[in-house]
Symmetry: C2
Subunit: 366 residues, 2 copies
């Protein structure tokens, strides 16, 4: 009996979207859903009580960061990341591979794994499939991601094929390193090439992973390349496991991927954009720094009410931003995360009630 | 009928402490009380909803900062600072004089007022008693503080006397500039000299101020000089008006001043110390950066439970601090403000129940 299982509830009459439930050791997560990114065991500026208040049931955290500080051994001594960050819901960690490639300047990758230099103190570390899964086991999370190789964008077909081959080489090693009951997800690679995506999905879905992710679509790819890859690859994933699109995205990207049959998402956009003064609204993204909000009383987004920020005037948020008050970033973060939470809730409702076209119309500008 | 009135409820059988109520246009404030400092219309890292949750009924904001940004005209167009920051409770503003002296490098003071250069953009501004009260009227606050001259510490007796003389010269000009119903408090000066404090209290309490403050005791004065000045001056203030000790202080300083008969306090310490990783506890101040908290599970302060931070392990707070996560400063700010809110609540209870000695013993190390 795997520790994470997917239950299908209903399907959309208009698209390939599906409504379900993910059963995890830390409760049920209604799908499709979005995970806020808590890189170091903290979603920037907000606490676990805030995430609970917004209705989030699962968050993502980063193996690379946590393994360097405070260290997987310490987290394990505390009984896991849930205990350390006081988070009662589910947690997924990435494998650490993506951060090794993006944050560490000195690194060497071969079939054994990746040797890299810590961005904190320059110390040398080694990450392999076995080590990544071991660390994620120490963190005690609900879902561990397999260590893969993700080719950068743009890359040649040969580079994409090479990264896929190493991902496949590592896949069984990830699985064999898992503790009893540790759920591990495989990641389909292959870049923008349909034949490689087919080969990757075919190989990985033959292994006993507890869920499958589409990797490598958010690393700088433009929409016109990303969407066909997502649509094509989603159709290759088994219906009885949950499907996770990594690192995506804007509301429109999520709507597209849900319609293609994807269930899980994570992205730094709502939280990072908030720290750059940008608010997601049904009328599009608004930069609160702009002069047009200096004396604005009416809500920036007339169609929405968010408890976290509804009491504050746009003019006040702009004042906080200009005065460089930390509260400004916090309130915009709460707003954007509440916007994403509501988006996912409305997605789930639209699938159940057969109102997908109306939902897409409602988020047309978002 | 003044817009701010003081109602005495009971007196302490052990000290000169008194329990009362301050009636303001924005509700009743139970005295003695502490005001969190919201310099630019925001108590750093916390929102009005957090202040409400901790039971605060009044906050302090800074005329100097608000007049430069977003500007008193804008605040007035929004219906006042309460509306701008969405704060339903009472607000007191300082006169701006202290910030002019401490933040502006170029300044010139004479009997007409102070000319100073903005710390934001270098533009030149002029602050007089009339202008300060006018700005505070535009901000629409419940209590305006008179513009005074506060001599730095240390200073000569002549400098203290000079600052006092100008404070007295300006006192009636502050009052005559007030709008109908605008409450203005006078500030007793005189440094560490009892005869000057007597002269200042005698002069100012002859004017129709709505309350009286003791100024100039927190500008670097050591405890052994501060305490006698507070005790002596508190005894000179009328019993039918509220008494405000400006800029004080640590819990022990507040306990001393309440015992001397003071009712109101403000200080940046709980919020500023939080941003320097320091937590107030019944066992004294603790720096959460320290290694001793790296694996600490038990509460730092075994005698206290604060809803805002009780769910988090000390080890997690330390991790947030080391990872430079904004949430760390926020959680410590919430903790310290909750600590101060509870201190004041227990002060009020101890006065009513005649248990002052037990209270002082309880906060012996704080």
């Amino acid at each position: 009996m795997p520790s994470v299982t997917y239950e299908l509830i209903s399907v959309c009459p208009h698209t390939a979207a599906r409504r379900g439930r993910l059963h995890t050791p830390h409760g049920i997560v209604e799908t499709p859903f979005f995970m806020p990114v808590g890189t170091v065991g903290s979603v920037k500026t907000v606490g676990s009580e805030d995430l609970e208040a917004m209705g989030y049931q699962q968050v993502l955290s980063n193996t690379y960061h946590l393994s360097l500080r405070p260290g997987a051994d310490l987290v394990e001594r505390f009984g896991g990341l849930h205990e350390l960050m006081s988070w009662p819901g589910a947690i997924l960690t990435d494998s650490g591979g993506y951060q090794v490639m993006s944050l560490s300047k000195t690194r060497k990758i071969d079939d054994t794994g990746v040797t890299f230099k810590s961005h904190l103190d320059g110390s040398m570390h080694f990450l392999s499939p076995e080590r990544s899964i071991e660390i994620q086991g120490q963190l005690g999370v609900d879902i561990s991601m397999a260590l893969d190789e993700c080719a950068p964008y743009p890359c040649t077909r040969d580079e994409a094929a090479g990264a896929m081959a190493r991902t496949h080489l590592w896949a069984p090693r990830n699985l064999s390193a898992a503790r009893e009951g540790q759920a591990v997800f495989g990641i389909v690679q292959g870049g923008i090439h349909e034949d490689l995506r087919s080969e990757s999905a075919g190989f990985l879905t033959g292994l006993p992973f507890d869920g499958f992710a589409i990797g490598g679509v958010s690393v700088g790819e433009p929409t016109e390349l990303q969407y066909p890859v997502v649509s094509f690859t989603a159709g290759l994933l088994p219906a009885d496991k949950v499907r996770y699109l990594m690192g995506v995205g804007h509301p429109r990207d999520i709507l597209h991927a849900v319609a293609a049959g994807m269930d899980m998402f994570d992205c730094v956009l709502p939280t990072r954009m908030a720290r750059h003064h940008v608010m997601y609204t049904l009328l599009g993204r608004k930069n609160l720094r702009n002069l047009e909000f200096a004396e604005r009383r009416d809500p920036v987004d007339p169609g929405s009410v968010f408890p976290a920020t509804a009491r504050y005037l746009p003019a006040y948020l702009r004042h906080l931003i200009h005065a460089k008050e930390a509260l400004g970033a916090r309130l915009l973060t709460l707003h954007n995360l509440a916007f994403y939470a509501r988006l996912m809730e409305e997605i789930r409702t639209a699938i159940e009630t057969g109102t997908w076209p109306e939902l897409v119309e409602r988020y047309r500008l978002a």
